[in-house]
Amino acid sequence: MSQPLTIRTMAEFAAAGEVPEVLFWVGCAGSFDDRAKKITKAFVRILNAANVKFAILGQEESCTGDPARRAGNEFLFQMQALTNVTVLNGYGVKRIVTACPHCFNTLKNEYPALGGTYEVLHHTQFINALMKEGRIKVEGGSFAGKRITFHDPCYLGRGNGEYEAPREVLLKLDAALVEMKRSRAKGLCCGAGGAQMFKEAEPGTREVNTERSEEALAEQPAVIAAGCPFCNTMLTDGVKHFNKEGEVRVKDIAELVAEAGDL
């Protein structure tokens, strides 16, 4: 924790005539949201510990356009996407990692139609690979034997078929992985997707995040693990709704790894 973070921008790499191993797409939540910034830093600590030569775009990064597109504003999406593709292609980016499943989905699936084709990884996939390659070693640590339940982000799981990477990472922390009643392909949404994060919920009898948090709490976990900054916010609020914030923590996979490895 005490180590200062090593972060370089793509512009700095280019100026030095170097090419990074991977571009870390921080995303808007990861850049601006106070809770999500902690996830961003945890992931950077992992990257630093594994000696990954990564770059960020810094001020040249801009919203992928995901919320605008889901909210029906295709013009705005196209402006964002085409601007980003120009920047990414300008730097000759080949590989991208991001801690946001929405950025992940857009970069991976929707930019190719606009001339931006990259290998895109979700940070849980990236961390899992680092662990498998032995570039970071985290054994048990503070989470050994702890009950942890993983909430599948819709845009990672159902959207892109990745259910295992986050779970494999959790198992490497020797955590006692417990599944919620609805998990994997049947996982229940946290309520934030499709631009809901940026609006009031439509009238109903209950909030989606309350429903989901209740289900997570029923497993009596020490930690509810998330893999998306928006799910994280939703679940944190849900846990507070049940006054359980003293007992149950909502943590991103990156935070758990960084904490377990004391990175």
Binding site: I7, V26, S31, R70, G72, E74, Q78, N109, G159, P203
Partner: protein
Amino acid sequence: MTMGIASIVFILLVGAASWLFGRNIMRVRRNILLGKDEVINDRKGERWGVMTRVALGQSKMVVRPVAGILHIIVYAGFVIINIEVLEIIIDGIFGTHRVLSFLGPLYDFLIGSFEWLAIGVWVACAIFLVRRNIIKLKRFAMKELDGWPKTDANLILFTEIALMTAFLLMNAADWSLQQRGVEHYVAAGAYPVSAHIASLTSFSALSTGTLIAIERICWWFHIIGILAFLNYLVVSKHLHILLAFPNVWYSKLKPRTEMANMPRIAGEVKSMMDPSVPPPELPAPHVVAGVEMTERFGAKDVFDLSWKSLMDAYSCTECGRCTSECPANLTGKLLSPRKIMMDTRDRVAEVGKVIDAKGKWEDDGKSLHTRISEEELWACTTCNACTQACPVNIDPVNIILEMRRYLVMEESRTRPALTSMFNNVENNGAPWAFGPDKRMEWTNA
């Protein structure tokens, strides 16, 4: 009744029913093609595989084992027992009786298995009726099924029970007649179920004439029932028994959360960003149902949806598996993905009726948005629980998102908070009011 007249009546009946069915199916096809053109012919091998697993193998049905297995019995029964119809048709035309009995042991095996399936279908349909009407499973007791959809479902189940009953009674009478060595009733086939029915209902006490009457009445009831059912399909959710197959073949193979690109808008934005790029050509106006259609952004009406969305609508079985997993619906919001599909189908059928009546489309002042409210559209989280749950790979999210596109881009109608999100993205490159100069602040500290 001489064989001659019976054969003529039979041929006329089958001919008329087939003609009517052909006409109705062509209308459904025309209605589906009111949608926008979309070419779907990539990854053919994969498509055949998905169709075999999901439509033929019903892999998504058995995610819920009770309903799944019962449904497989009904489906197998329905398909396999219809082999029997082949024999009925030949017998009906030529006045023969059990014409395929020359198959010998194979025939015995076939008739025997049909009987077991028939009783299986009977029981499964009875259980389905209980689930719908007595236990009242939540997904079958929702408001959107009030009226015709509920009647439709019960009618289908009762009809299947009636058809199976007629089939088994026919066999029971036939078996009894065979036992008596009555002329024309050659001893053929195995009757593991109906032989019991015959003894339970004391068929042996009936006169030969009565038995022949029962056998004939059931035979005619069975074939007329099937012909009627065939024509009922097109006004019923039961159409899924045919459309499930093409619908799954054409289903989305891309990642569920990938949204379709809009090349024309991409072209316009490209030329805005780089003046050397010429703006895209406006699409040539195309004629649909006798009227020139102007292309718009997103979906106002069925004409603006891909034909695939309209096929989805006609394939929906109204099973409600989508809605029962929809987070919006589960938390009391108005949105129900099943209702989105039913509304789309009802709208396209309504448009089709206008075309049938007037020979071409005439604006009736209504649209998809007449049936589907903004409150429903804005409740979707795009989580794709519905597309995952649907046993025939229907995609309600695509319709929701196309309708949002129309609201926002053609009508400037959205939720107030989304307007500020748009402004922020446009001005700051982020959905919140933080400018690019703040983007690296997290790196300090």
